[in-house]
C-alpha cells in the first residue's frame, strides 16, 4: 500500500515537474483559408520553432466571418482564444464592447518595444483610436488596384494604363474598337466601388466623418459622386464595355481575366500573387484605382485583417501573444508573408529595406508596391482615415443586393442606392440604440 502511494506521489511530482517546464500556450483563431491559411499556420510554426518559451496554438476558422462568429460564441461561453484575426467590417461591435486589450497597451504592459510611428499612417489610422492608440495589430494588409491585360492594351494602342475614369472609358472604347468583346469584368464590390472609391475622392460614405465622431451616423453615399460612378458602370454594361462576372453568373471576374476574356478587373492587391500562380498566357500589370478628373486624388485605405487581443485571459497568455505579435512585426516575418501572399508591408522601415534590396524589382513582385502608392498618396484626411460603422456587414449586403437589382434592370441606380441608404440607416439606428450612450474610443 505504502509503495503504491509512493509511486503515485512520484508520478504526481513528475507531471508537476514537466508542467513547469512546459511552454506557455495561447490560442490564436484565424480566418484565412486555403493557401493563405497555410501561410498563417506556417507563421505559428516559425514562431514556435524560433523560441522555446511560448507556444502558439493556431486554429483556422474557415473564413473571416466564421472566425468572428465562432469567437463571439466562444467568448460568451468563456472559452475564447487570446488572439483573433478579424476583418474590419466585423469589429465595430468588438470596439464598443470593450472586450479587447488594445495592442499599444498590451505591448507597454508586457514590456515589448514597438515603434508605432513606423506604421504607415493609412494603416495606423485605420486600426487605432482617436488618441492614436492601436486597437489591434495590423498584419495582412491590402488595398484595391486594377489588373489589366497588357497584350489587349497594346493591341488597342493604349500605351499607359489610365488613372482617371475618363481615361478608362477611352480605353474601353479603344479596346472595343480593337475587337475586344469584353473590356471590364465587373463584380459589384462595396469595398472597392463604394468605400475605397470614396476614400480616393475624399468624399464621405457617412456623416460624422464616416462614423468616427458618433453613433448617430447616417449614410451619405446616395448624394455623392458615387451615384454618378455607379450609373457610369451601369452605362458601360449596357453599352457593352463591361460584363457582369460573378460566381452566380457562372464565372468570377478573376477567372474571366485570367482566361483572357476581359481585359480589366478590379480586386485587392492580394490577388497579385494568385494571378501569378495561375500563369495567364499574356502579359499583365496592375495600376492604382482611377479617380474622376477634376477631383484631387487622395489615399485609399487598408483592407485585409488585423489581430485583436481579447479580454479575460491570463497574464502569461498575454505575454505569449505579445511575443507572437512582435515576432510577426519583424522585417523578416513581414517579408515571409509578402513572399508567400500578395499582401503589402505595414511598416515604413520594412518597405524601405525591401526597396533597397531590390525586392520589388524582380518577378513576381514587380509593381506590386503600386498598392503602397495608392495607400500613401496623401496623408489621411478626416474622410480618408477609414469607415467606422456598426452593422457594416449588413450595409455592404444591402448595397450589393440593391446594385445587383439595378444592374438587372429592376430599378434605376439612383433608386437602388437610395434604398440601400435608407435600409443601411435603419441598421445604424439599431446599432446606436443597442449601444446607447457609448461612442467609439
Amino acid at each position: 500500500m505504502t509503495q503504491k502511494l509512493a509511486t503515485a506521489a512520484l508520478a504526481l511530482l513528475a507531471t508537476a515537474g514537466s508542467a513547469s517546464a512546459e511552454k506557455i500556450k495561447f490560442e490564436y483563431w484565424y480566418g484565412l483559408t486555403g493557401d493563405l491559411g497555410a501561410v498563417v499556420a506556417e507563421t505559428c510554426n516559425r514562431f514556435n520553432a524560433a523560441q522555446d518559451q511560448y507556444e502558439a496554438v493556431c486554429v483556422g476558422q474557415d473564413g473571416y466571418e466564421k472566425a468572428v462568429q465562432n469567437t463571439i460564441a466562444a467568448f460568451r461561453a468563456g472559452k475564447h482564444p487570446t488572439l483573433l484575426q478579424s476583418f474590419d467590417a466585423g469589429t465595430a461591435d468588438l470596439m464598443l464592447s470593450g472586450e479587447f486589450y488594445p495592442v499599444t497597451k498590451l505591448m507597454a504592459d508586457t514590456g515589448v518595444a514597438v515603434d508605432w510611428a513606423d506604421y504607415f499612417p493609412g494603416i495606423a489610422n485605420y486600426y487605432s483610436s482617436k488618441s492614436g492608440e492601436f486597437f489591434s495589430m495590423p498584419w495582412n494588409s491590402s488595398t484595391p488596384v486594377y489588373y489589366f491585360n497588357k497584350d489587349h492594351f497594346s493591341k488597342a494602342g493604349i500605351t499607359e494604363a489610365p488613372v482617371t475614369w475618363e481615361g478608362m472609358e477611352e480605353a474601353f472604347k479603344a479596346l472595343k474598337a480593337s475587337g475586344q468583346a469584353c473590356s471590364l469584368a465587373y463584380a459589384p464590390s462595396s469595398w472597392i466601388d463604394l468605400e475605397q472609391f470614396s476614400m480616393a475622392h475624399n468624399i464621405p460614405v457617412a456623416s460624422n466623418n464616416n462614423g468616427y465622431d458618433g453613433l448617430d451616423t447616417e449614410l451619405l453615399f446616395n448624394t455623392t459622386l458615387h451615384v454618378q460612378h455607379m450609373e457610369n458602370i451601369q452605362r458601360w454594361m449596357t453599352e457593352g464595355y463591361a460584363m457582369l462576372r460573378t460566381q452566380a453568373a457562372g464565372k468570377t471576374a478573376r477567372d474571366s481575366f485570367v482566361e483572357g476574356e476581359c481585359s480589366v478587373f478590379f480586386s485587392s492587391i492580394a490577388d497579385h500573387n494568385t494571378i501569378h500562380k495561375l500563369k495567364p498566357a499574356f502579359g499583365w500589370d496592375v495600376q492604382i484605382i482611377p479617380t474622376y478628373e477634376g477631383v484631387e486624388r487622395h489615399n485609399t485605405v487598408v483592407g485585409g485583417a488585423s489581430l485583436w487581443v481579447l479580454s479575460g485571459k491570463t497574464e502569461d497568455e498575454y505575454k505569449a501573444a505579445a511575443a507572437y505579435l512582435a515576432f510577426l512585426a519583424t522585417k523578416e516575418e513581414q517579408q515571409f508573408l509578402l513572399e508567400n501572399t500578395g499582401y503589402i508591408p505595414v511598416t515604413k522601415s520594412t518597405y524601405e529595406a525591401l526597396l533597397a534590396e531590390g525586392f520589388y524589382a524582380k518577378e513576381p513582385f514587380i509593381n506590386r508596391d503600386i498598392a503602397m502608392k495608392s495607400l500613401t498618396y496623401t496623408e489621411p484626411t478626416e474622410l480618408t482615415r477609414g469607415i467606422r460603422l456598426g452593422g457594416m456587414i449588413q450595409i455592404r449586403a444591402e448595397w450589393t443586393a440593391e446594385v445587383e437589382a439595378a444592374l438587372a434592370g429592376q430599378k434605376t441606380m439612383k433608386e437602388a442606392l437610395d434604398t440601400a441608404v435608407a435600409r443601411g440607416n435603419e441598421q445604424l439606428a439599431r446599432f446606436a440604440q443597442t449601444y446607447a450612450g457609448k461612442s467609439f474610443p
Binding site: 462568429q69 470593450g98 457562372g250 452593422g391 456587414i393 443586393a401 445587383e404 443597442t434
Partner: protein, 293 residues
Amino acid sequence: MRRAHFKFSWIVPLLLAPQLLVIFTFFYWPSAQALYWAFTLEQPWGGGNTWVGFENFRKVLSDPYYWGSVRVSVIYALATTVLAMGMALTLALFVDRQLAGYRVWRVGIIWPYAVAAPAVGLAFQFVFNPGAGIFSFINTLAPGWWDLSKYPWQAVTAIVIAGAWKQVAYSFIFFLAALQSIPRSLTEAAAMDGARPLRRMLDLQLPLLTPTFFFLLVINITDSFTDSFGIVDTLTGGGPFRATDLMVYKIYSDGFRGFDYSGAAAQSIILMCLVMALTFIQFRYIERRVHYT
C-alpha cells in the same frame, strides 16, 4: 364508472428524464432565450441588452423585403414538397411493382438522404452553373437565357429542384414501406376482379396510403422551412437581389453574419409560429380526409 389507471411509479419519470432533459437543453432553453432576445437589443459580445418591447417584431414585419422572404419561403416549401412527394411516390410505385433491378433502386434511391444539404447545394452548383454546368447547354442554344444572377425565378427553380432532390429519398422510404404493408390479398382480389395495375394504384393503393401521405406532408413542409439553409447558402447565397432569401437563411445572415441577434431572434419566433400554424392547419383540415384503417 371505473377508469383504468396505472399506479404512480418512479420508473416513469426516471425513464422519461433523459429524453426530457435533451428536449429541454436543445429546444426549450434556446427557444426561451430567443424569445427573450426578441424583445431586447442584445449586444453580441455580451455586456447587456436593452428592453425594446415589440420593436424588433415591428421592424421585421414592416419590412417589405421580409414579406418577400416569407413569400418565397412558402413557395419553396410547397413546391419542394409537391415535387419531392410526387417523385418519391412514382419511384416507390415502380419499385413496389418489382420492375427489373428494383433491389438496386431501392437502396440507390435512399442514398441522397444521407448527403448533407451544403454538399447537395455544391453539387447542384455544377448542374446549374450558367457558364460551365449542365444547364449551360441551354445557353449554347439561346445565349444568356439561363442566368442565375439575373433571373429570380430561375434561382428559385434551382433551389426547389435541389431541395426536392434531397427530400425524395426520405419520402420514398415511407411510401415504399406503406405500399409493401398493403396486404397482397387485396391486390390479388382486385386483380381477379379485372383491375389493371393503373386502376389498382388509383383505387386501392393510393387511398390506403393516405396516412403516410399526410405524415409526409407535415414532415416535408416543416423540413423545407427549416432545413433549406445549406442549399441556399451554397447555391445562391440568397440572391439574386434577395430572390432566394428564405426565412431561415435571412435569420442566419442577419443574426450570425450581421450580429443582429435580436432581429434574428424575432424572426425565429415568427418562423416557429408560422410552422406551428401550418402544422395546425394540416391537422385540422387535411387529417379529416385521412382514414387510418
